[in-house]
Amino acid sequence: MINPVVSLKYMLAGYIAIFSILGIYLASLVVRWKNLQRDLQMLKDLQEKK
């Protein structure tokens, strides 16, 4: 049988890992989306000036 305190620590570590990785990925999606929208707007402005 695994020591309950030790077991609890590993469980917490597991869930911290899950939400950290998911959080980083979601943040990367948001950042990439914002950057692409900014680039698109900039390119459209350039086209209009031309």
Binding site: I2, S7, M11, G14, Y15, I18, L22, L40, K44
Partner: protein
Amino acid sequence: MKAQPLVLKIMNVASGLLLAGSLAMVFLYAPLEAVMNHVQKIFYFHISNAWVGMLGFIVAAFAGIMFLVKKDLKWDIVEVAAVEISLVFFLIAIVTGSIWARPSWGTWWTWDARLTTAAILEMVYLAYMLLRQGIEDPDRRARFGAVYTLIGGISVPITFVSIRLWQTIHPAIIGTESASAQGGFAMAPAMLQTMFFCLFAFSVIFATLLWHRVRLGRLAQQVELQKLEAMQ
């Protein structure tokens, strides 16, 4: 780029609620396992992440076939989106498996058949992402991606059945040998219900993320086209 469609907005809310529901099922409904205690609760998210990870690699192979048949770049966008999301979910499965293994098996990692095939699977698709970046022509890149995901897709069933093909200490969850492997356990009905709820929840989360990532791919394609126009 158009605003999010209503269905996607509904899926966003549903994904959030299903994730919260999964956590509630894991921590408030599923009983505490007698031998492993709390660490066993990693299992529900571990298996769900592994499932959607493998599902995404299969979706990518399907998108690859569709690209080869239709020659439409939209399938390339779906393919790369599915691979990217699956890499994230499968990484979570590997990391949580390792954390679970430490107190259960006494080691973070062992070159067991399931663990080895899972690591190879992750690396095969990591290489796919890296190699794609080296090809500038969109059509060549898409053709390469389609063939690669088709061949890479073979590693998905190999990883899945590895615990049946070779001697392994990884527990076989689907089947009757659950408690026979080291770190395995017999599942109570509430545990099974929680597992299936988590599998469903993560399938919806995967579909939602896939849609968002496809929209991101389309936006990137739009930027590329605009750049080409600006250069002319």
